[in-house]
Amino acid sequence: MTARRQFIQQSAAAASALAFPLVGGAQPRSIKVGILHPVTGALAYSGQQCREGALLAIEDINKAGIKSLGGARLEVLLGDAQSAPQIGAAEIEKMNEAGCAAVVGAFASAICLATTQAAAKYNLPHVVDVGVADQIVERGLKNTFRFGPGYRTCAQVAVANLHVLNTAAGKPARSVMIIHEESLFGTGTANLLSRELPGYGYDVKEVVRHANPTRDFNNIVLRMKSVNPDIVIPANYYNEYALLVRTMQQQKVLPKAIYSVLGGAASSYKFLKEFPEAANGIIDCNHWFNPKDKRSAELKKRIEAKGLFFSYEVFMAYTAVRLLADAIDRAKSSDRAAINDALEKSTFADHFMPYGPTRFVNGQNQGAQPLMTQVIKGDIRVIVPRDYREAEPIFPLRA
C-alpha cells in the first residue's frame, strides 16, 4: 500500500516536473516586435505618424495579449530610419540582434526596399505598412508582406477613374502634367502614370521631378503656367505637396483639376486644416479607411484626442500591426518561420480597411485597394468606388 502510494506520489511529482518546462519555456511572457520608421529627417512627419499608429495598435493588442500564447504581450523595439535606406537597414541588423520576432515598417518605399532585404537575411518577418513600390514584393522574398496596395494598382485605379469622371463630364480635360518626388515612390508612380494615361487618350505634356526637400516651387509652377495643363498630378510627400499647391495658389495657376495619385497632402486633415482654400476640391487616389466601418471613426477620435491628425500613415501602420498580431496568434509561437508561415496563410478580416479578408500572393495582399477621395465642403469624402461613396465627385473643379 505505502509503496504504491509513494510510487503514485512520486510519479505525480515527476510528471508535473516534466510538464513545467513545456509550460514555462515554450510560452514567452513577451514577444519583441520592431517598429521601424523615419522619425527624423525629411520624412519625419510621416514617420512619426506611422509610429503613433503602430503604438496605438500595440496598446490595443496588449490589453489582452496574444491569446494563443497565454496573453503574452508585445514588447516594442523602436527604430529610427532617419529617412535614409542604409540607416533603415542598419536598424534591422540591430533589431535582429535584439531578438525581434518580427518587424513592422518602414513607410517610405526606398527605405522598405532596403529593410525587407536586410530582414530577409535572417528570415525576419517584415510587414510593410505603406511602401507602395511594387519591387518590394516582387523579389521573391519569403519574409515580406504588404497589407496595402502597391503603386501599380493605385495608378491603374486612378487612371481608370479619371477617365470615368472625365467622360461623365463630357471630356473637358486632355492635357496632364505630372510632378513627382525623386525617390523610388515618386519616380515609380510617375512612370506608371506616363505609361497608362496615353492609352486612355490623355496627353502627358510634362513630367517634372523634384528633390526631397524642395523649398521653392516657383520655377516648377512657372513651367506649369507655360505648359498650361488641364490636370495636374502630384505624387510626393507631405511638405512638398503642401508647398506646391500653396505656390500654385500664390501664382494663381488654376488647372481644371488637381488629381493626385498617392499625393502626400491631398487627403490629409492636417493640410485641410492649415490651408482650406488651397485644399478645396483636390482629388486623391490614396490609402483610405472604410468610411462605413465605425471602428475607423473610433480610432480617428482617439488620435485626434492626442492632438494628432488622422492621416493615412496612422491607420496603415495600425492595421499592419494588427495583421502581425493576428499572425502571431495563429502561429502560436514567436518563431520567425512560424510567423512567416502564418502571415502567408493569413485570412485576417477583422479590420476597417476596404480590403475584405486578407489573401497574400507573393507577399502582396490581393484585396488591397486605394480609394478615391475629394475635399468637398471642408471635409475629405470618398467618391469612388460606389460601395464606399460618401459624396458625389465634382469634376472638373473649374471649366
Partner: protein, 290 residues
C-alpha cells in the same frame, strides 16, 4: 517657355534670392579681405543664425523681421568671441591654421545642431507667408521682396561702414598692410575680431530674411557657402561691389537654370560660371587683389 510672362517672374525670383546670396557673400569677402582666410564656418554660422531666428519665432513668437536687431547683435557677438577666443588662439598667427580651425568649427557647429535639433527640416509660418505682390505678369512672394530690399540695405550699410567710418578705415588699413597698421597704433587683433563679427552679423541679417521663405536643417549651410564662395570669386576677392553684383547675377543664373533644366541640374550654371571665371578672369569682375 521663352515668353516674357515666364522669364520675367523667374528673373525677379532670381534677383530676390541673389540679394540674399550677396549679403552672405559680403560677409565672406570682408572676412577674406581682412583676415586673408576663407571662412569655412560661414555656412554653419548661417545655419546657427537661422535656427536662432526659428527659435525666436516658435518659442517667443518674435517675427523674423522684428528679430533682426537681436539676431544681428547676437551673431556679431558670436563672431567677435569666436575670432578673439578660438580662432586667434588656435591658429598661432599662421594663415593655414586659421583655415583648419574654421573647418573644425563648422563640423562642431553642424553636429551640435544635429544633437539639439535632429535632422528634421523646419520652417516657420507667418501671417504673410502666402501674400504675393503683383509686378507686371509676376506674382512675387512678399517675403522675398522684403528679403531683396533688406539685403540691399544691409549691403549698402556695410559698404558705408567700411568706406566712411573710423572702424572702416582701420579695417582697410589692416587689410592692406597688417604690420604697418600695427605700427600706426591700430589694435590689429581687435580689428580682426570686429571684421569677423561684422561678417557673421551679415549672416544674422541674411537668416532673418531667408527663413520666412526658406527652411532650416543642420545641413542647410553647405549649399549657401558653396554659392557664396562662387560669388566671392566671381566678384573679386575682397571687393564689395563685386560680391553684390555677383550675388544678383548668380541668383538670376540659378533661377533661369532651374526653370529650363530642373532644380538639380539647374545648379550647373553657377559652377560653369565659377570655372569660367577662374579660367578667363581669375581676379574676378572687380578684381581687387592681384
Amino acid at each position: 517657355m521663352l515668353e516674357f510672362g515666364i522669364l520675367f517672374p523667374s528673373v525677379l525670383n532670381g534677383l530676390t534670392t541673389g540679394a540674399v546670396y550677396a549679403l552672405v557673400a559680403l560677409g565672406l569677402t570682408l572676412i577674406y579681405g581682412v583676415l586673408h582666410i576663407i571662412n569655412f564656418a560661414h555656412g554653419a554660422s548661417l545655419m546657427l543664425a537661422m535656427y536662432g531666428v526659428y527659435l525666436l519665432k516658435t518659442r517667443l513668437g518674435i517675427d523674423p523681421y522684428l528679430a533682426l536687431p537681436i539676431v544681428v547683435a547676437a551673431m556679431f557677438a558670436l563672431g567677435y568671441a569666436l575670432q578673439r577666443v578660438i580662432i586667434n588662439r588656435a591658429s598661432h598667427g599662421r594663415d593655414e591654421n586659421i583655415l583648419l580651425v574654421t573647418l573644425g568649427l563648422s563640423i562642431v557647429m553642424e553636429n551640435l545642431a544635429l544633437i539639439f535639433f535632429k535632422s528634421d527640416t523646419r520652417s516657420i509660418e507667418t501671417a504673410y507667408t502666402l501674400t504675393t505682390v503683383a509686378i507686371g505678369p509676376a506674382n512675387i512672394a512678399l517675403a522675398k521682396l522684403v528679403a531683396f530690399a533688406g539685403a540691399l540695405a544691409a549691403s549698402a550699410l556695410l559698404i558705408w561702414i567700411v568706406a566712411r567710418t573710423h572702424l572702416g578705415r582701420a579695417i582697410r588699413a589692416v587689410a592692406r598692410e597688417k604690420q604697418g597698421a600695427r605700427l600706426m597704433g591700430i589694435d590689429v587683433d581687435h580689428v580682426y575680431a570686429m571684421s569677423f563679427g561684422i561678417g557673421l552679423a551679415c549672416l544674422g541679417a541674411a537668416a532673418c530674411f531667408l527663413l520666412p521663405a526658406y527652411y532650416v536643417n543642420p545641413q542647410v549651410g553647405g549649399g549657401f557657402v558653396l554659392v557664396a564662395f562662387t560669388i566671392v570669386v566671381l566678384g573679386g576677392m575682397g571687393s564689395f561691389a563685386g560680391a553684390l553684383l555677383g550675388g544678383l547675377l548668380i541668383g538670376v543664373v540659378e533661377s533661369l537654370g532651374g526653370l529650363f533644366l530642373g532644380e538639380s541640374l539647374g545648379q550647373i550654371g553657377i559652377f560653369l560660371i565659377f570655372i569660367g571665371v577662374l579660367l578667363f578672369r581669375p581676379q574676378g569682375l572687380f578684381g581687387a587683389r592681384a
